[in-house]
C-alpha cells in the first residue's frame, strides 16, 4: 500500500483514545507506525541520546564528566531543559544562524560591509531570551540605521550589492523566512510555481533605495543602513514595466505605511511563515524535513506528514512563536529519542529510527576542539590575527576569526558550492587526509598538553584509559569486542604511548564520529 494512503488511514483514526500519548508527536507516530505495521521502536540508550542531544543543541560532543553525570542520573527531560537554556545553546544558535542569514557565503570583504560582533551578539541574545520568532524576523526585515545600535540591520546590509538592484535581498528573505525559491522569477515568470516576474520585483520594490552609508563615528568607522527614497515602486530591469511594492497576494501597502514595516507585518502572518521555521527546526533535529530541502517548498512537492506539520505550526503560534517550546516538543518525542539502528523497510518519512546526520562545519570545528584541543592550538593564530595591523579594524575580532574557521571547515567537508545551503559532510577525501596525516593535527594527538596526554596521566590502567578515550571521542564506553581488540593491541605493543596514539587516531577517523546518530 502506498505510504501516503497509510498516513491518511492513520489520520482518519478517531480522536485521541484514553490510552494514547499526550505528546502530539508521539500520538501521531504511534498511530502511523501501528497502521503501517512498524513494530514498537527501541529508544536510544543513554549514551547515544546524550551525544545526540549535545550535538544538536549545543553543537559539540559531550565531555566525559558530563556523560558520566548524565548516565548516573539519566533524567532526559531535565537534560533537555538545562541544555536548551544554556549559554552554549545560544552560542550554537548564533553560529548556525549567522551562516544561514549570510546564505553560507563568507566573502573576504564582508567584514567591511557589516559589523560581525554586533550582529552575532544580537543573534545570541535573541536565542538566550527566546525572543519570539515573529519579533526576530520583524527586526531582521525592517531594522535600519546604525549597524551597531540596530544590529539586526546587518542582515539586509550583507545582502546589498551597490552595483545591483536589491534582488538578492528578495532571494534571501523569501527563501529563509518563507521557504520559497523565487529567484527564477527574477528574469521570467516561474515555470512551475505560481510566482510571476512582477511578484518578484514587487517584493524587491519594498527595498528600493536601500543603501549603506559609511561614515566616521566618534569610535572609528560606522555604517548606517538608509532608505533613500523609501521603496515603493521600481522598474523591472531591461523592461518598460514599473511595479509598485506589492505582497505576494498582489495587494500593496497603504501610502502611509513605512514599506519595510509593512513587509515584515505581511511576512509574519503569511501561512508559510510558521511552517517554514517548524520544518527547519524539525529537519535540524530529525535529519530530514517534512519538506526537503528545507528551503525548497513548492506546490508540486507537498510536505510529508502534513497534519503533524500543521499541528506543530499551530502550537508554535499558540506559544507566541517562541522556538524553545517547539524544540522541547521535538526533543522529548519518541521519534527524536528513537535508536539510530536503521529500520529496514520503514520509509524515511515514518521517522521510525534516527537518521545519520552529517556534521556541519560548526560541529566539525567543535569536535576538533573537544578531542584535539584545536581551540588551544588556534590561540596563537588568533593572537596574530588580532595584532595584524594590515587588516582593517573591522576584521580584528573573534567573530570574524570564527567565520574564517567555519569557512575553512566547510571547505574541508565539501567543495564550497554556491547553493545557499549549509555544507554537510558527504564523505570527503580532503577531510580524511587532514584527519589522517595533517602534521598539525597529529601533533595535537601527541602534544604534552593534549587530551590524550591528560588521559594517560589521569588513568593508570589500560582499560581505564581505553574507557576515557572512547568517552572523549565516541561519547560511549567500548563494547566487549572493542575492549578485547584494543586491549590485545595495547598488550602487543607493550602499552607504548604510540599504541594509544594509534587508537586515538582510529577513533578520530571512524565513521561513528563524523555523524550525529
Amino acid at each position: 500500500m502506498p505510504w501516503t494512503i497509510l498516513a491518511i488511514l492513520a489520520l482518519a483514526a478517531p480522536a485521541r483514545a484514553p490510552e494514547e500519548s499526550a505528546h502530539p508527536v508521539d500520538r501521531y507516530f504511534d498511530r502511523l507506525w501501528m497502521a503501517a505495521g512498524i513494530p514498537a521502536r527501541p529508544l536510544a540508550d543513554d549514551y547515544e541520546f546524550y551525544r545526540r542531544l549535545s550535538l544538536d543543541v549545543i553543537g559539540r560532543l559531550p565531555r566525559p564528566d558530563e556523560i558520566r553525570a548524565f548516565v548516573r542520573e539519566p533524567d532526559r527531560e531535565k537534560a533537555i531543559d538545562s541544555m536548551l537554556a544554556s549559554d552554549e545553546a545560544a552560542e550554537f544558535f548564533a553560529d548556525t544562524w549567522l551562516r544561514l542569514l549570510l546564505s553560507y557565503k563568507f566573502e573576504e570583504t564582508l567584514p567591511l560591509k557589516i559589523n560581525f560582533p554586533a550582529f552575532r551578539s544580537w543573534l545570541k541574545a535573541a536565542a538566550a531570551k527566546d525572543l519570539p520568532y515573529r519579533d526576530f524576523v520583524t527586526q531582521l526585515l525592517s531594522d535600519t540605521g546604525d549597524y551597531k545600535q540596530n544590529p539586526a540591520s546587518n542582515f539586509l546590509l550583507a545582502a546589498i550589492d551597490p552595483a545591483e538592484p536589491p534582488y538578492e535581498i528578495t532571494n534571501r528573505v523569501t527563501r529563509i523566512f518563507l521557504g520559497l525559491q523565487m529567484q527564477c522569477a527574477r528574469c521570467h515568470d516561474h515555470p512551475f510555481d505560481k510566482y510571476t516576474q512582477e511578484d518578484f520585483w514587487g517584493i524587491t520594490a519594498f527595498f528600493n533605495g536601500i543603501k549603506p552609508k559609511a561614515r566616521r563615528t566618534f569610535d572609528g568607522f560606522g555604517v548606517k543602513l538608509m532608505m533613500e527614497p523609501p521603496g515603493a515602486a521600481m522598474m523591472i530591469p531591461d523592461s518598460k514595466t514599473e511595479v509598485r511594492a506589492r505582497f505576494l497576494d498582489g495587494k500593496s501597502p497603504g501610502p502611509e505605511e513605512p514599506p519595510l514595516k509593512a513587509l515584515a507585518a505581511y511576512f509574519v502572518q503569511h501561512p508559510q511563515f510558521s511552517r517554514t521555521i517548524v520544518n527547519r527546526t524539525w529537519a535540524h533535529f530529525m535529519g530530514r524535513g517534512f519538506v526537503e530541502p528545507v528551503d525548497r517548498w513548492s506546490e508540486k512537492t507537498p510536505p510529508a506528514n502534513p497534519d503533524l506539520l500543521l499541528a506543530l505550526s499551530a502550537q508554535f503560534e499558540r506559544d507566541g512563536t517562541r522556538l524553545r517550546p517547539l524544540m522541547r516538543t521535538l526533543l522529548t518525542s519518541k521519534a527524536y529519542q528513537a535508536s539510530c539502528a536503521a529500520m529496514k523497510d520503514a520509509p524515511a518519512d515514518a521517522f521510525a529510527s534516527m537518521a545519520l546526520k552529517p556534521f556541519s562545519p560548526v560541529q566539525v570545528l567543535n569536535f576538533l576542539s573537544g578531542t584535539l584541543n584545536l581551540d588551544v592550538f588556534l590561540r596563537e593564530f588568533y593572537k596574530k590575527f588580532l595584532e595584524n595591523k594590515d587588516l582593517p579594524e573591522t576584521y580584528r575580532n573573534p567573530e570574524v576569526f570564527k567565520m574564517y574557521l567555519h569557512q575553512f571547515a566547510s571547505g574541508l567537508l565539501a567543495p564550497t558550492g554556491i547553493a545557499p545551503e549549509e555544507t554537510r559532510y558527504t564523505g570527503s577525501v580532503r577531510l580524511a587526509l587532514k584527519l589522517m596525516n595533517s602534521s598539525d593535527l597529529q601533533g595535537l594527538v601527541r602534544a604534552e598538553w593534549g587530551r590524550l596526554a591528560d588521559i594517560l596521566k589521569k588513568e593508570a590502567s589500560p582499560a581505564g584509559r581505553l574507557d576515557e578515550i572512547f568517552l572523549t571521542i565516541l561519547s560511549r564506553p567500548p563494547d566487549d569486542a572493542e575492549k578485547a581488540r584494543y586491549l590485545a593491541y595495547l598488550e602487543r605493543k607493550k602499552g607504548a604511548k604510540s599504541a594509544y596514539e594509534d587508537i586515538y587516531w582510529v577513533l578520530i577517523n571512524s565513521s561513528e564520529l563524523i555523524f550525529n546518530h
Binding site: K105, Q181, Q183, C184, C187, H188, H190, P191, F192, I236, P237, D238, S239, D295, R296, K300, C340, A341, A342, L356, G411, A414, P415, T416, G417, I418, P420, Y425, T426, G427, S428, V429, R430, L431, A432, L433, N437, S438, S439, Q442, R446, D479, A481, E482, R485, Y486, Y489, S498, D502, I503, W505, V506, L507, N509, S510, S511, E512, I514, F515, H517
Partner: protein
C-alpha cells in the same frame, strides 16, 4: 527581459514532460543513464583537459583583445603574433610567439556579472539552479572518461578551491584540492613517526572499527564515507604521487615555466596529465582589477606569460598537445571603460577565451569586437557553445542525461553548438 528560455529553468520544463507523460516515462528513468550514448560524430582527439583559470575575470583588452590607441585601450602596447589579425599585450611576448599553437575566441558572452555564479557557469556550463547541483567539468570528465592514473582522482585543482563540486554525480568524483603548490603532499604523506607498518596497523583497526557501525547503518552516507577513506588511502600509496614532485624535472624545463607558483602549478599540471589524470585546474587569481588595472594586469601577465607559454611548448615538445586540451579563461571580462580608479569593472558582453591542443587548430581567431571593444561585430559565442566544443573534442555526447538524486533527468549540457571554425 520577459523571456521563457532561461537556461537554469529548462530542466523544469522536462519535469513537466515527466508529469504529463506519467509513469511509463518514469519507468524508463529508473536506471542511472537515460539512454546510451549515441556515439559522437567525430573520433575524440583530447584525452585530458588543463584549465588555466583566471580567477576574478581577466581583462580581455589588456591581454588577447587589445585596442591600442583608443580611449579604452589603456597604456599597455599591443604586439604582433604569428596569427594574422591577432594582437596581444606587450606583456605576453612568449605567448605571442606561440600563437600558432592556440586559437582565440574574442566574442564569448554571458549574462552573469557576479563572480560566484559566473564561476559556476564557466565550470559547469549551467546557470545556478536551486533545484539541481551541476557537476564541475572535471568531475564530469572523471565520470565519463575515468582516471588512468592509479591512485589519483580524475579531477585535481591546484591552489584554489574548485568552482563547483561533484554536483549530482557521486561525491567521490569531487575535485581534489591541492592547497599548497610549495608543499603539495602536505596531507598526503605520513606524519612524522608514522611508518608504513604503523599505518597498516591503524588502517586494519580502522576498518574493524567501522564495520560494527556500518552493520547497523546500511546507509548511502556511510558508503560515501567509506569510499572517501578508500580513496584517501590509495592516494597516499599511489605510485603516481611523484607527479607532484617537480624536483625530478630538468632545470631547463622548470625555467621554461617561470618561478611563480602559477608557473610551477602549470608544470605540475603537465606531470599529472602525463600520469593519466583527466582534468587539472590551475588558478591564477586576482584578476578582479576594479582599481589599478594596468599595474596589476602587468604583474599577472608576468606570471602568465612564462607559465602558459611554457606549458604549451612543453606539451608540444612531448607530443602531448594533441591529446591535451588547454583552456584559458575566467568568469567574465572587464569593461572597456576605464573607471575613476584606473580600473575596469565586470563585463560579460564580449570576453576572451583561448583554446589549444586536443584537436583545436592553432593560429585562428574567432569573432571580432569593435574599435572600442564595446560591441561584438561578428560571431558571438555562448558559454554553452564553448562547453559543446570541449565535450565534442573529448568524444563525450553532451545530450546524454544523468539522473539527479531527486530523480530529475539532466543533460550533460543544455544547448550549445561546437565552434567548428576552430577544429583542426
Amino acid at each position: 527581459m520577459m523571456t521563457t528560455t532561461c537556461a537554469h529553468c529548462t530542466s523544469g520544463r522536462r519535469d513537466f514532460i515527466k508529469i504529463a507523460f506519467g509513469a511509463s516515462a518514469a519507468a524508463a528513468l529508473s536506471g542511472k543513464f537515460l539512454r546510451p550514448s549515441l556515439a559522437a560524430a567525430s573520433p575524440p582527439r583530447a584525452k585530458s583537459v588543463i584549465l588555466l583559470w583566471m580567477q576574478g575575470g581577466p581583462s580581455q583588452l589588456d591581454t588577447f583583445d587589445p585596442k591600442p590607441g583608443g580611449e579604452t585601450g589603456g597604456p599597455h602596447k599591443a604586439i604582433e603574433t604569428r596569427t594574422k589579425g591577432l594582437l596581444v599585450s606587450e606583456h605576453l611576448p612568449r605567448v605571442a610567439q606561440l600563437s600558432d599553437r592556440y586559437s582565440v575566441i574574442r566574442t564569448l558572452f554571458s549574462k552573469d556579472p557576479n563572480h560566484d555564479t559566473a564561476r559556476y557557469l564557466l565550470h559547469t556550463g549551467y546557470r545556478t539552479d536551486p533545484t539541481v547541483d551541476h557537476p564541475h567539468l572535471g568531475s564530469l570528465l572523471s565520470q565519463e572518461l575515468g582516471t588512468r592514473a592509479e591512485g589519483l582522482p580524475g579531477c585535481i585543482t591546484l591552489g584554489k578551491e574548485p568552482g563547483a563540486g561533484s554536483g549530482y554525480l557521486a561525491p567521490e568524483l569531487s575535485p581534489l584540492l591541492i592547497e599548497k603548490i610549495e608543499n603539495p603532499l602536505e596531507d598526503l604523506k605520513l606524519a612524522s613517526g608514522v611508518t608504513s607498518f604503523r599505518l597498516a596497523d591503524r588502517e586494519k583497526l580502522l576498518w574493524e572499527q567501522n564495520e560494527g557501525f556500518a552493520a547497523r547503518h546500511p546507509e548511502s552516507r556511510l558508503e560515501s564515507q567509506r569510499k572517501a577513506y578508500e580513496r584517501a588511502f590509495s592516494l597516499m600509496r599511489s605510485p603516481n604521487l611523484k607527479a607532484f614532485d617537480l624536483s625530478s624535472e630538468k632545470e631547463e624545463t622548470r625555467r621554461l615555466y617561470g618561478s611563480s607558483p602559477f608557473g610551477r602549478a602549470c608544470l605540475m599540471a603537465r606531470r599529472l596529465v602525463e600520469s593519466g589524470v583527466c582534468f587539472v585546474e590551475v588558478t591564477l587569481a586576482d584578476w578582479d582589477t576594479h582599481s589599478d588595472n594596468f599595474n596589476r594586469t602587468r604583474g599577472l601577465m608576468e606570471q602568465l606569460d612564462p607559465g602558459m607559454s611554457g606549458l604549451l611548448s612543453d606539451l608540444a615538445q612531448r607530443q602531448m598537445l594533441d591529446e591535451t586540451l588547454v583552456i584559458w579563461m575566467g568568469e567574465f571580462g572587464r569593461t572597456p571603460r576605464i573607471n575613476a580608479g584606473n580600473g575596469r569593472d565586470h563585463w560579460t558582453r564580449a570576453f576572451t577565451a583561448a583554446l589549444a591542443g586536443g584537436g583545436i587548430a592553432g593560429g585562428r581567431v574567432l569573432g571580432k569586437t569593435n574599435a572600442q571593444g564595446t560591441e561584438t561585430l561578428d560571431r558571438p559565442v555562448s558559454v554553452q557553445d564553448l562547453f559543446a566544443t570541449v565535450y565534442g573534442q573529448l568524444g563525450i555526447d553532451a545530450s546524454k542525461k544523468y539522473m539527479t538524486p531527486s530523480g530529475r533527468p539532466v543533460k550533460i549540457l543544455e544547448g550549445g553548438d561546437p565552434v567548428k571554425e576552430l577544429l583542426a
